[in-house]
Subunit: 178 residues, 2 copies
């Protein structure tokens, strides 16, 4: 069912995404689809949740650099995935308020779950205690989104590592302090 | 004429943007519009060039931090401008290959023109000689694009300053080395 949403979105874009089209594609009766998801926004929320797993946890490799590189490898994989479900969702977010809200909620949740990476690094003495987790995490991931989504460069996975390590160097130098 | 393109794009989105609609709105004969711009992509290229000025030069305030804060204030102003022409262009880039190419060309040109900021800072001894200008510049601007375009937060102009200064701290600590 959610696979059908992703496939429809990738193949036909947001314009082709309707509850009716998804019902037809998945073979589920449209009344059932409407009852459970109400609208396209509801479908997208569930696709995002399912694509990433509600039990997702931040990586715990033992070092700040290791954790952030691991996070960024996941972001890179999502942004260069085939089929490009994440890119299709981002594109849809410019057409649909529910899609934009779903993505925003998803990202806010991910940044919240990653805050533990910063707390652990502070506990280990790797970072100053007043480090702003959100600012550090955005500095880690933002270059990937910028290069791959907006600048549409073909940056390979080495960008994931480099951006994470650049941000770690910044954090150790006292950037991102509250 | 180009004002008409921007106004049409902001009011009706990419779907409402056609050479015919722009001709009607601007009062210019459609044959003239077609002869000069050929298609919507050509129009968008010119809107971008006009909106920002072909004679745009990187700020030169005397310090690396001053220059990068100034750059980021311009980016922040563009991304929060009313009418939201830049956001409309970014949204259009997900629908139209010419729009995506126009934006990519525009950004590549801007990053090229900003490289002199890094060269001057190296000459002044503010930065290591092997600092990769593009990586530093992307680290400066990417958090703004991420927060304002994708995460859709209402980050104020203080984010422009903070992101620039965080990246300066990183660069001084030896991040962004080639």
């Amino acid at each position: 069912m959610l696979d059908a949403v992703g496939a429809q979105l990738v193949e036909h874009g947001y314009d082709g995404l309707s509850v009716d089209a998804v019902a037809e594609r998945s073979g589920v009766h449209r009344t059932t689809v409407y009852r459970r998801w109400r609208d396209v926004g509801g479908l997208l929320v569930d696709v995002l949740a399912e694509a990433t797993g509600d039990d997702w946890r931040a990586p715990d490799t033992g070092t700040l650099a290791g954790d952030l590189v691991a996070v960024n490898r996941e972001v890179h994989a999502a942004l260069t995935g085939d089929p490009p479900v994440t890119l299709a969702l981002i594109a849809a977010s410019f057409r649909s308020r529910p899609a934009a809200d779903a993505l925003r909620t998803f990202w806010a949740d991910r940044y919240d779950r990653c805050a533990v990476i910063v707390r652990r690094a502070v506990d280990r003495g790797e970072l100053p205690a007043r480090t702003d987790a959100r600012r550090l995490l955005v500095a880690v991931t933002a270059p990937l989104y910028h290069e791959l989504v907006l600048l549409r460069s073909d940056a390979g996975p080495e960008l994931a590592e480099r951006a994470a390590l650049d941000a770690v160097a910044a954090a150790r130098a006292g950037a991102f302090l509250e």
